[in-house]
């Protein structure tokens, strides 16, 4: 990453009662990048976000935003952060516009034009004067994004931002976040469990489980790395003969047989070899499908399934 660190999280810990919720998490988020924060339910994603935003006290460690400590210099630190925690809960009895007006009054020097600008950016011009209770979840997400961007923050913290958006909305959000990161050099911190979404949206991904950061990786790096090993599904007849045939070529541990399909994890380069062997043996080949390991597999592998800590 070329940008300067906007967020510096240094050895933070959080205990609630005697239970350690966050156990020593350290990472930086840089200007101009979209950082994905992944983890199963109860891993500590929201707790970390709450500490970053000063909603929860930090038991041990420090969080700096733009160099200001969130513990000691809360007002200066939080002034450069825009965020949504969990769902974008707005005042339902107010109109979207009044919600934005409400938050704009909490910063110095936000003009009416800036409010209009943000409304346009998230595409809510037509409904902004309607009461929020008439909004769909997707519209509330947009309004949530609008309030987070009002004061042109240098860090945007979004907790599950794609929740409730339709596919078009997700795509729009993705493009918007990428644009904000690239053009305005904002650091974007996104938590989610929508893994396929993260692959497309983020530059780096940190995986958290049981309050510990398992690893941080660049998205493009590991996609390249994973390209070599694929999961191949052969639709063949007869299956038993084919299975023996595969066994003679590769020593694969994972092969599943279902109806007339065999699923094998193998090297990408070996697929033609296997097909040639099948034909040689007189096995009828109806189809070959390959799938690269997705982030989801990687994620499940790293976190060991969906067990709640």
């Amino acid at each position: 990453m070329t940008g300067k660190p906007i967020v510096q999280i240094k050895n933070i810990k959080k205990n609630i009662g005697k239970k350690a919720i966050i156990k020593d998490v350290t990472f930086d988020v840089f200007a101009g990048e979209v950082f994905g924060f992944l983890g199963p339910n109860g891993a500590g994603k929201t707790t970390t976000i709450r500490m970053m935003l000063g909603l929860m006290s930090i038991t041990e460690g420090e969080i700096f935003i733009n160099g200001y400590s969130i513990k000691k210099d809360f007002e200066s630190a939080i002034a450069c952060v825009g965020g949504i925690v969990e769902n974008p809960e707005m005042y339902k009895y107010l109109s979207g516009y009044h919600n934005l007006l409400h938050y704009s009054r909490m910063y110095k020097g936000i003009k009416k034009e800036r409010i209009e600008e943000v409304i346009k950016l998230v595409g809510l011009e037509k409904r902004i004067h309607d009461k929020v209770k008439t909004y769909s979840l997707g519209m509330r997400q947009r309004l949530g994004l609008a309030q987070a961007l009002l004061h042109s923050p240098s860090l945007l913290v979004l907790d599950e931002p794609t929740n409730g958006l339709d596919p078009a909305g997700i795509r729009e959000l993705r493009e918007l976040l990428r644009k904000l990161a690239q053009e305005e050099n904002i650091a974007v911190f996104v938590s989610s469990h929508l893994l396929s979404e993260m692959e497309l949206m983020c530059d780096r991904i940190g995986i958290i489980q049981n309050g510990q950061l398992l690893n941080i990786q660049k998205v493009d790096e590991f996609l390249a790395e994973e390209k070599t090993t694929v999961s191949a599904t052969f639709t063949v007849e007869p299956v038993s003969k084919a299975k023996a045939c595969i066994g003679s070529i590769i020593k694969s541990k994972t092969s599943a047989v279902k109806n007339n399909q065999i699923e094998v994890e193998m090297e990408w380069e070996q697929i033609p070899e296997v097909v040639a062997k099948f034909i040689q043996e007189g096995i009828k080949v109806y189809g070959v499908q390959t799938a690269t390991k997705t982030l989801e597999d990687k994620f499940l592998e790293a976190t060991g399934g969906s067990e709640i800590a």
Partner: protein, 317 residues
């Protein structure tokens, strides 16, 4: 760092853009109107005309009681003497007594409705903090460059402004309605006070404001209490329920316990300051100064607990 005026404007916007606020105002107006109509229909306007005859008859009764019964306690004697003097002054200067079917009489009778104002303010104050938690909006409210105590203070001030607004509505509407129903002619009548054995004319408006002020002491304390419960438990139903329960039963509980000396340290034994002006204190030896000190101590304690909970605790809603 941040202008607290803006925070108060925000709280006021949230207050006045919710329908329930206007329902409260409507109920308040309705209650005054009903009170006015009942007073108008039940009072006989004839009685007003020969009020001079009536109060001179009253004075004769007082005088005969004073001369016949020697063993009267001093407080009662003083009361009779005061009433006699004031009645004589009324006849002499042609100032009719304050009956409920006069302008000021009606305004004063409406002071009882301040209990409703407290009730509404308790509901507002309790829900202004707790509803932020129950709706989850607290998470977006606290991630702003404003210290938590400022946000809390803005909510408190906004609740007080709401109370003042309702009191202004109550006073002006009862004044206007009183004038319309019972004529504005009485508006210039002074309030007759009895100072050092002589009758003194005083401003009726100031007298009524004084009565409002005393009636508000209880309200302010209950609103502060509701505010505290709401920040501690983050639950508006609990805060509203407990405050209203105490508001209506506090006096009774204190009355039941009045044989014990320690009852004077309970808040509700002190909030009714009128007990020192025209009445007897609940526990012998209690003074106005003692009650004021007790009220200030409770007030500070309630506010400290609110502040501590709101600014120090984690937001996990």
């Amino acid at each position: 760092m941040l202008n607290i005026i803006n925070l108060i404007r925000n709280e006021n916007m949230k207050n006045f853009r919710v329908v329930s606020t206007w329902v409260m105002v409507a109920i308040l107006l309705l209650m005054v109107a009903i009170g006015g109509i009942i007073t108008k229909t039940t009072s006989n306007s004839e009685g007003n005309k020969d009020w001079k005859a009536e109060i001179s008859k009253q004075n004769e009764q007082f005088k005969s009681m004073l001369s016949e019964q020697q063993g009267l306690p001093k407080a009662v004697k003083d009361r009779y003497e005061k009433d006699i003097k004031i009645n004589e002054y009324r006849i002499k200067h042609d100032i009719p007594p304050v009956e409920t079917n006069t302008l000021w009489g009606f305004v004063i009778s409406c002071i009882g409705i301040i209990a409703i104002v407290s009730l509404f303010t308790i509901i507002k104050a309790a829900s202004s903090v707790a509803s932020e938690f129950s709706s989850g909006t607290i998470k977006l409210l606290l991630i702003r460059p404003a210290k938590r105590w400022k946000i809390l203070l803005s909510k408190y001030i906004s609740a007080m402004l709401f109370a003042i607004g309702l009191l202004v509505v109550l006073f002006s509407f009862s004044f206007i309605l009183g004038g319309v129903l019972f004529s504005f002619k009485g508006a210039s009548h002074p309030y007759l006070a009895f100072v050092d054995g002589a009758v003194v004319e005083k401003s009726m408006v100031l007298n009524v404001f004084g009565k409002y002020g005393l009636a508000c002491v209880d309200s302010i304390m209950m609103v502060t209490f509701a505010f505290m419960i709401s920040t501690v438990f983050r639950n508006s139903a609990l805060a509203i329920g407990l405050s209203i329960f105490l508001m209506f039963t506090g006096g009774t509980i204190v009355g039941l316990l009045s044989k014990y000396d320690w009852v004077k340290y309970i808040l509700f034994a002190n909030t009714d300051l009128t007990q020192y002006i025209d009445g007897t204190p609940l526990v012998e030896g209690m003074t106005m100064a003692f009650s004021i000190v007790m009220i200030i101590i409770y007030f500070a304690a309630f506010n400290f607990i609110s502040w501590f909970n709101f600014s120090k605790r984690d937001v996990a809603a």
